[in-house]
Structure formats: C-alpha cells, structure tokens
C-alpha cells in the first residue's frame, strides 16, 4: 500500500476504509437506525394503548350503577289519589330508609341519610304510583339509583382513608352505607338509563341517548347533502369537464378546502347559516350542513379515485354499443365505482361524526335534557356531549365522559369495519 502511494504522489484516488473497525461502526449505525424505527413505532403504539387503557379503565364502570332496593310503604295518608302530582314522595322514601336505620334521628342526619339516594328516586316513585294508583296502601319493593357519591364509593373511586372534609361523603354516611350494604339491599345493575336517557346535571342520571339521536340527525343531514353534491362534483370534474381555467380553480379550491381548519367552517355556519339565513341555533340541520361542507372534499377526492380506477375498456365497450357519454358514466362507470365511493363516504362520515369544534360554534353545546324529535329541534351531538361532560369537575362525570368516548369509538369502529368489509367484498382487480 505505502509503495503504491509513493509511486503515485498525486493521491487523487481515495481509498475506501475497509477496515473491520469501520465496518463494525457502519453496522452499528445500521442497527441503531433500525432501533430508532422500532422505538418510533413503539411510541405510537404505546400511546395508542395508553389512551385506550386510560379511557376504558376510567369508563367501563359507568355501564353499571349502584342501586338500592327499598320496601316503600305507599302511605294512603300521604297520597291523595286526586292529587298525586304534588304528594311528598321524598318523604316516603326517607321513612322507608329510616325503618332500616332506626338510630338516625336528628333532622340533619335524616337529610344526610336521604342524600344517599338519587334525587330522581322520588320522581321515579311518582311515575310508578301515577301509572297504577291501586298500589296506594301497599308496601312495594322499589329499586332506585343511589346518589352519584354512593355510586363512586361503591365503585371504589372515593377513598375511605381520605380526610372527611376531602371527600363528598361524611363518615356517618359511609357508616350507614356499610350498614345498608350488610343488609344486602345495595347492589349493582346494568346502567340502562345511561344508554336510554338524555343529559342531566346529576351524574347518576345523565345519559347519552339524546346526544346519540342528535348525532344521528346531524349525520343524516350531512349524508343527504354531501353525498349527492360530492358525487356530482366528482363525476363532472373527472368525466365531463374539459381542462380550463374554471375547472382548475375548482380543483385547487377543493384541495384547499380539505385543509381549512374545521373551526373556520364553524365560523362560516355561524355567520351565514345562523346570521344571514336565520336558521335555528343548536339544530342538527345546521350542524349537518356545516359538516357536509367539511366532508365534501374528502368524498369528492375518494369518488374521483374510484372513478379513475374503472378501466377504459369498460367505457370503450359501452361507447362501442352506442351509449352516449352520459349513459356510459351513469349506466356503467358509476355502478362499478360505487363500492369505492361508498367506502370513501363512510370514512368521511366517520370523520364527521367525531368533529366537535364547528358544532360548538353553531350552538350545539347547550344543556338539553329532551331527546330531539327532528333535525330542527335543539340538540347536541355525541362528541360535544363528551366535551361538555369533560368540563364538569364532579367525579361521577369523569366516568360518564370516558364511557361516552367508548360509545363514540364503538360507532367509529363499526363504521370503519363496514367500510373495510365493503372494500374487501367488492374490490375488483381489473
């Protein structure tokens, strides 16, 4: 080696360093690089796992609730059959509790005791009696929800070791709860009200059905508007439009709309749909219109891709038997592209279902107890409900929020699964 370099003093050729040491270093770098990749994927996967675990672990308990079964004596002295609406049902429940815990005497204690049962129990009892007045005078077995604090205690979210002032329940209340538990009248049951009722200020009564229905109407409006508009636009741009300045503008415009922040669409809805057209606030109709504008680019892009994937031979065959351009597209190309279009639409709709910010702008964030009956009623939507509950500091709502997220994710999983199935089932290789 040294001789060679001496013979050629102008060392223009760089000899690669082929020593073991350098090779080792290069292989080490290779390994490191690969590890970085694994690390990156592990971070992404780990975060997903952490997210799902943290939500499920916080939320799964919301699908159960703590109930108390009482023997309520429907005292005829309290219940006037002519005036059932104004009777003091609270007192009936309280006296039934007192028969179980006779040592509770002072007024304050009695109030503290009745705080163990949900405020809704009296209304529930009233409904029962009004439905069947013949019950008056009897002693009935009545199952009611406990208050959310008791529910939290039963589920282990309230620490018994905490100082009395730091927890929602006093020492006495916990002692009573334990006594009642020993009597075997406190149990857990499936929390059907969570899935079937509307929103409430009380965590033990709050349900998501109102939000689900609101989301449903919103999605229907979105689908009815976005799907025809997007498919028509895509067909026009892909099959009919000649390339000129106008279609260029439309195309650039669609690409830009796809990247406009969703909250800006909310501002558009607020200023134009509510401000200019005077449509009702908080209505799924307006929410659906805004979301339709948001998903429009997504569906257009998916539809164009699906139309492009139909091979020219299909078109040529149709032309060959004398079809017009319109007939080629609507009788042959569009049906063949439909599975791809539907897949794109479902994915766009799943995206719209999780969209929150624009709905906040148009007022779908109100506290609404009633289940909306149509797309013009004031309503909220599932993601907005999640947002509203997440703002409430009460412990009971943390559980409810997580459970609502689980429901939302379940809907998204179903929609995506349908999209994947569609793709698998109808995908054609030409």
């Amino acid at each position: 080696m040294t001789d060679m370099t001496l013979e050629r003093p102008v060392a223009t050729i760089r000899h690669p360093d082929l020593s073991e040491k350098r090779l080792k270093r290069r292989y080490a770098a290779e390994l490191r690089f690969k590890l970085y990749g694994i690390l990156a994927l592990a971070i992404a996967g780990g975060m997903l796992a952490l997210l799902l675990v943290s939500i499920v672990s916080k939320g799964y308990t919301a699908f159960w609730r703590t109930e108390i079964t009482l023997n309520v004596h429907l005292d005829p002295a309290e219940l006037d059959p002519a005036n059932l609406a104004t009777a003091n049902y609270q007192a009936l429940i309280r006296s039934s509790l007192l028969t179980l815990l006779p040592e509770v005497e002072s007024r304050g204690d009695r109030r503290a005791l009745s705080e163990l049962v949900s405020g809704d129990a009296a209304i529930e009892l009233q409904r029962l009696v009004q439905a069947d007045p013949s019950l008056i005078g009897q002693t009935i077995e009545f199952t009611a929800a406990t208050s959310d604090d008791v529910d939290m205690l039963e589920k282990g979210y309230i620490s018994r070791d905490a100082a009395e002032g730091d927890r929602q329940l006093s020492d006495r209340q916990i002692a009573w709860f334990d006594q009642l538990s020993e009597q075997g009248i406190i149990g857990t049951a499936l929390n059907t009200p969570f899935l079937t009722s509307g929103d409430s200020r009380e965590p033990e009564l709050a349900g998501i059905w109102g939000a689900v229905v609101g989301s449903f109407y919103t999605m229907m409006v979105t689908l009815l508007l976005a799907f025809p508009l997007a498919v028509a636009t895509a067909i026009y741009l892909e099959e009919f439009a000649t390339r000129n300045r106008w279609t260029d503008i439309i195309e650039v415009n669609i690409n830009n709309l796809a990247a406009v922040p969703s909250i800006v669409f909310g501002l558009l809805g607020l200023a134009i749909f509510l401000g200019f057209f005077g449509l009702p606030r908080s209505a799924p109709l307006v929410g659906g219109m805004v979301l339709a504008l948001i998903v429009l680019p997504t569906i257009i892009i998916a539809t164009r891709a699906a139309l492009k994937a139909v091979p020219p031979s299909i078109r040529e065959a149709a032309y060959g038997i004398g079809a017009s351009r319109m007939q080629v597209v609507f009788h042959h190309v569009l049906p063949l592209a439909m599975p791809g279009i539907l897949t794109g639409t479902i994915i766009g709709m799943a995206h719209a279902l999780g969209e929150t910010a624009p709905l906040l702008m148009i007022g779908m964030v109100a506290f609404i107890v009633d289940i909306p009956a149509g797309p013009l009623d004031a309503a909220t939507a599932l993601p907005v409900q999640i947002f509203m509950w997440s703002d409430i500091p009460e412990r009971g709502f943390v559980e409810k929020t997580s459970a609502a997220i689980m429901v939302l994710l379940a809907f998204l999983v179903i929609m995506n699964a349908v999209a994947i199935m569609l793709r698998r089932h109808f995908e054609r290789r030409w």
Partner: protein, 460 residues
C-alpha cells in the same frame, strides 16, 4: 310541517310528470317506442325535471327570503319610537315579536304595539305559507304542462335531459367555490367591523390579549385589549412541541414500515397508525387533560419543576401524537415515489440500508417531506379541541413549555360559545382571529401543495 306538505306534493307531481311524459311519448308514436328519437323514459325524465327543478328552486328562494321580507314589513309598521331604535335593540325586539307570534311568550308583559306586531307577523306568515304552497304547485304544474307539450316523435329528449344533468353537475361543482367565498366573506365582513373598533395594527402587534369587556362603562380596562401576539406565540409554541413529537416519530415509523418491517409487523403497525388517525380530537383532548397533564405535573414535581396543570407541553405532546399518522402516511407516499433505481444504485455502491435511506432516499424525498410537514403544521395550528381541553385560557406571552399558554382556536371558541350578540368587539374579535387563522393555514397549504407538486413532476 307545512314545508313537508309542499315538498311531498312536489315529489308526487314530479313522479306524475314522469309517467305522464312517458305515456305521452309512447302514444305519440302509436305505441311503437322504436320510432321515437329517445327512449320513452327520457321523455318522462324531461317532463319530471321541468316539473321539479323550477318549483324546487322557487321553494328554496322563497324559504330563504320569506323571514327577511316579513321582518322588514313588520318593522316598517312599528310605531315610530320603536322603529328608530338601534340595530341591536331592533333585533332583540324582533326576536320578542317572533316568539310572541310563535306562541311561546316569554311571560314579560308585552306592550300593545308588540302584540299587534306579533299578530300581524302571524297573519303574514299564514299568508306567506299559503302563497308558497300555491306558487310552488303552480310552478310545478306549469313546468309539467310545458315539458309535456314539447314531447314529439323527433324531440331529442335524451340530449335535453343530458344537458340539464350537466348543468346540475356544474352547479354542484360550484358549491365548493361558494363555500370558499362564504368563508372569506363571513370572516372579512365581521373582521372589518372589528377593525373599525380596534385598529388593525393593535390587533397584529399588540402584546396583550384580554378581551373581557367590563360590565359598567366606567370600570377600569373596560375596553379590553386585543393584541394577538401572545396568541400567535402560544399557537406556535404548541405547534413546535407537536412537531418535535410528530416529525421524528412519524418519519422514522414510515421508514421502518417501508424498509425494515416484516409483513407481520406491518400488519399490526399499519392499523395502529390508522386508528390513531381515526380517533376524534375531542378524545385526544380528554386524554391530554386527564392523563398526560397530571402525569407531566407529577413528573415535574418529582424533579422540582413547577409544571402548570394546563401546560403547553401536555397539549403539544398529545397533538403531536395525533399528527404522527398524518406525517407517516404522507412521507410514506413521497418515499415510495423515489425511483427504485436510485436505491439500487446506492446498494450497488455498497451502502447499507440505513445509509441508502439517509443519504439517498430522504434527500430525494425531502421536498415532499417538507410539504407534508407544512401541511401538518397547518393542521396543528387549526386544531381546536385538544387545545380547548388541555391548554389554558389566559394568553401568556412566554416561550416556556411548562407554562400555560392560549391559542387562536381556544380564544375563538371561548369568545363565541354561549354568546349571541354580534356587535361587541369581543365577539367580533373572534372573526378577526378566524381570518388570521384562515390566512395562515391557507398560505401554508398553498406553499405545501406547490412544493409537493413540483417535486412529483420531477420523477413522473
């Protein structure tokens, strides 16, 4: 209800039009459709379109215009004293009148003039409703008769229908343009009203943001401060944190998935990234506020750092996680577009896989990756729910990621939710912020799309 009746009637008429047109077409040629220029169903469609479209257009225009016209009639008939009120008060008054007319009285003792106005509005509404029914139906019938009369043996019904369908499609394609115009107009008009009250220089360069206008006129600081700089820096701080998380993780996972992963790893990793992309932002916000922020706070406390419970770090980190799949799928696309010959050349020179990727593939794909990162930045700037739930409300001018900062989107949401009045500087400032957001993201998108396109042209 009435709307539904009108729509149902129109639908029935349209169907009737189709069958009438078809029958007529067949009967003009004595029951031998092959003598027609177009298939009978095209004749039917032609009549149906003439029947449905003009009537529906009339219906839509009427529905939009009706409330405005009725309002102006009612206002013009109000007593002089009330008619001279300012715009805002007039709006409130009109609202009361509308409520009265709809029957859900607010319980406030309404004065006779208002009750009279409400009565007038109600009767006007009835007249308008009946007028709409008559007008829409007569338009439909007229269209039907016109279309039906044109049917003849040689009438080119197919061509006519196809022309109408083309026009409908062009109108649909125009909606996207209208959307953009709508966005620009709504943001611009409200922003101009805002800049009449607050100078634009103060908005763009002011260092203090506190939009709270006081309840009383004489209160100190009643005007509020509208300097957007703290919001811009807050947004940028969170965006930078998000990018620091998302770019390396997203890029490296894309590289690993493309060049190293076995099919089995890919079968697991790809859905993981897709799920990350599909999770709604409100869920990420909840995760940031309830899991990441407290964890960071505790971790900070254990090493003696004071981390705010609404720190920029928590919001930014979670936003970064949200953006990982975005970066990885975009960079996957652009790296796949790098021609295989470049890789083969590099391998032939003896380069290892990682050397090929670092020194050949990534530099060749760099413009595309940069474009993707720009798109991701624009997304991070416009992201709302994560920052609303996990970042702070008070606009601090700071670069410290452990402190709470506020962003443009947080302020828009805070200013507009639950607020109905449209003329205070406070609510109008939200539109100015929206305009700022729109302009920033639009510029980023245009630049990014241009970068990506330019790069693609090189290899295609």
């Amino acid at each position: 209800m009435q709307t539904l009746i009108v729509l149902a009637a129109l639908l029935v008429l349209t169907f009737a039009g189709f069958h009438l047109g078809r029958r007529r077409a067949v009967s003009t040629v004595g029951g031998r459709p092959s003598r027609l220029h177009s298939l009978p169903s095209y004749h039917g469609l032609y009549v149906a379109l003439w029947c449905g479209i003009p009537a529906l257009a009339l219906f839509a225009i009427w529905s939009i215009a009706e409330p405005h016209i009725l309002d102006s009639i009612v206002v013009s008939e109000l007593p002089a004293a009330q008619a001279e009120l300012g715009d805002a008060q007039l709006g409130l008054l009109l609202n009361d009148i509308r409520n009265l007319a709809s029957g859900d009285a607010t319980g406030a003792a309404a004065d006779p003039a208002m009750i009279a106005a409400a009565e007038r509005l109600r009767s006007l509404r009835e007249i308008a409703g009946a007028g709409l029914l008559v007008a829409a139906l007569s338009a439909a019938v007229a269209g039907l008769a016109f279309g039906r009369r044109r049917i003849a043996r040689a009438f080119r019904a197919r061509n006519a229908v196809e022309r109408i369908v083309t026009i409908v499609m062009i109108v649909c394609a125009t909606i996207s343009i209208l959307t953009t115009i709508g966005i620009v107009m709504s943001l611009l008009f409200e922003s101009i009203r805002f800049f009449e009250q607050v100078p634009i220089t103060e908005f763009l360069f002011g260092l203090q943001w506190s939009p709270q206008t006081a309840m009383r006129e004489d209160q100190i600081g009643s005007s509020g401060a509208f300097g957007a700089v703290p919001l811009i820096t807050g947004t940028l701080l969170i965006t930078v944190i998000a990018m620091l998380v998302a770019v390396p993780v997203g890029l490296l996972s894309a590289i690993y998935m493309a060049d190293y992963a076995t099919p089995r790893v890919r079968a697991v990793a790809k859905p993981v990234l897709e799920i990350l992309a599909g999770i709604p932002t409100v869920v990420y916000g909840f995760f940031a506020a309830l899991t990441i922020a407290p964890a960071l706070r505790e971790a900070g406390a254990s090493i003696g750092l004071d981390v705010a419970s609404e720190s920029a770090l928590a919001a930014g980190a979670v936003m970064g996680i949200m953006i990982i799949p975005f970066i990885s799928s975009l960079s996957d696309d652009v790296m796949n577009a790098v021609p295989q010959t470049l890789r083969d050349g590099s391998f032939a020179l003896g380069a290892t896989k990682s050397e090929t990727i670092r020194q050949v593939v990534v530099p060749a794909a760099l413009p595309g990756i940069v474009g993707g990162v720009l798109l991701a930045i624009s997304r991070a700037i416009g992201e709302t729910m994560i920052v609303v739930m996990a970042a702070g409300l008070s606009a601090n001018l700071t670069g410290n990621p452990l402190e709470a900062v506020s962003t443009i989107t947080v302020q828009i949401k805070t200013l507009l939710v639950g607020d109905q009045e449209f003329d205070s500087a406070k609510t109008l400032s939200a539109f100015a912020l929206g305009l700022l957001l729109f302009v920033i993201t639009l510029c980023l998108n245009v630049v990014a799309l241009r970068v990506v396109r330019k790069y693609r042209e090189k290899y295609d």
